[in-house]
Symmetry: C2
Subunit: 146 residues, 2 copies
DNA sequence: ATGTAATAGTTGTTTTTGTAACTAACAAGG
DNA sequence: CCTTGTTAGTTACAAAAACAACTATTACAT
């Protein structure tokens, strides 16, 4: 494939980011998909609840930068499968507090283990310097504060 | 948001990659979407043809790691809008050679300009070291050779 | 009070994607 | 030649995502 002009697609950051993100997402997706028939939206909700405890749909949306309709549907599916419970806030009856059930926590614990192993496998492909710089740079680009 | 266990979602590489990729894709997408009503699959095809000249659908698929059905549909839409022409290979009548029209090349040139500016804006958010290491690491993770 | 706006979340409809099955053309062994 | 297998690309159908319009509730200014 001869290059014809000065632009290099393989160095174009959005393109590179997508290639890397797609590859790693797809590989990790196999786990929660095969194991629990879960979608990416669903594991994201599950992980937020598993990690931070009780949250509202809106809170998850802010943190995960997911649209509220995606969350609404993911919450529905997770509730159907008894992975979480929903409780209306009595002070403000618009908001719902979501919380994992025992079953949900079990799934989370299991997936978290696998996530950590998978992350370690990715990490192992890079040098320590690359790992540190990579994560920092990604956070800047994603504008994640903490 | 108090942390409850040792796992850190904000450091989990597939998650970080997705956040960064989504953000940058979305921003750049506005350009080709607003300007040409183009989808991401379409600009990828356009960029490949603009950059490498005549290619087949299969060749683009290999390089962009896109499924052939996505390419097939993107090529259709681009052909409908007269951005590219399709020519059967006479030696092997299964393959089609795709090539940008004048109009396609014009769109490519314009989008390439914007892509370079956008890449420069992203690059400016990072230190030179971060830029070098980031791109290298992403290529490793995406398993892009060259 | 009461009309207007804002917020939390849901639902409906349209696009886009994923998956699998398909057609057409070639290749290679008997 | 014919069967069997492979490859390029398309099409059909199902799953998921995007987008807009909606309900219910609260906030807030008159």
């Amino acid at each position: 494939m001869p290059e014809k002009d000065s632009f290099d697609l393989q160095q174009f950051l959005p393109y590179l980011l997508n290639q890397a993100a797609e590859r790693s997402s797809l590989e990790f997706q196999q786990v929660y998909k095969d194991r629990y028939g879960m979608l990416r939206t669903e594991w994201r909700v599950l992980f937020h609840l598993g990690l931070y405890g009780k949250m509202t749909a809106g809170g998850i949306g802010q943190s995960a930068k997911m649209h509220k309709t995606k969350i609404s549907r993911a919450v529905h599916r997770l509730a159907d499968r008894r992975f979480l419970t929903r409780a209306r806030d009595e002070a403000d009856r618009r908001v719902e507090h979501l919380e994992l059930t025992a079953q949900g926590r079990k799934a989370y614990a299991e997936l978290r283990e696998i996530a950590m192993e998978y992350d370690a496998a990715l990490t192992a492909q890079l040098t320590p310097e690359e790992n540190a710089v990579l994560r920092g740079a990604l956070r800047k680009l994603a504008r994640i504060s903490a």
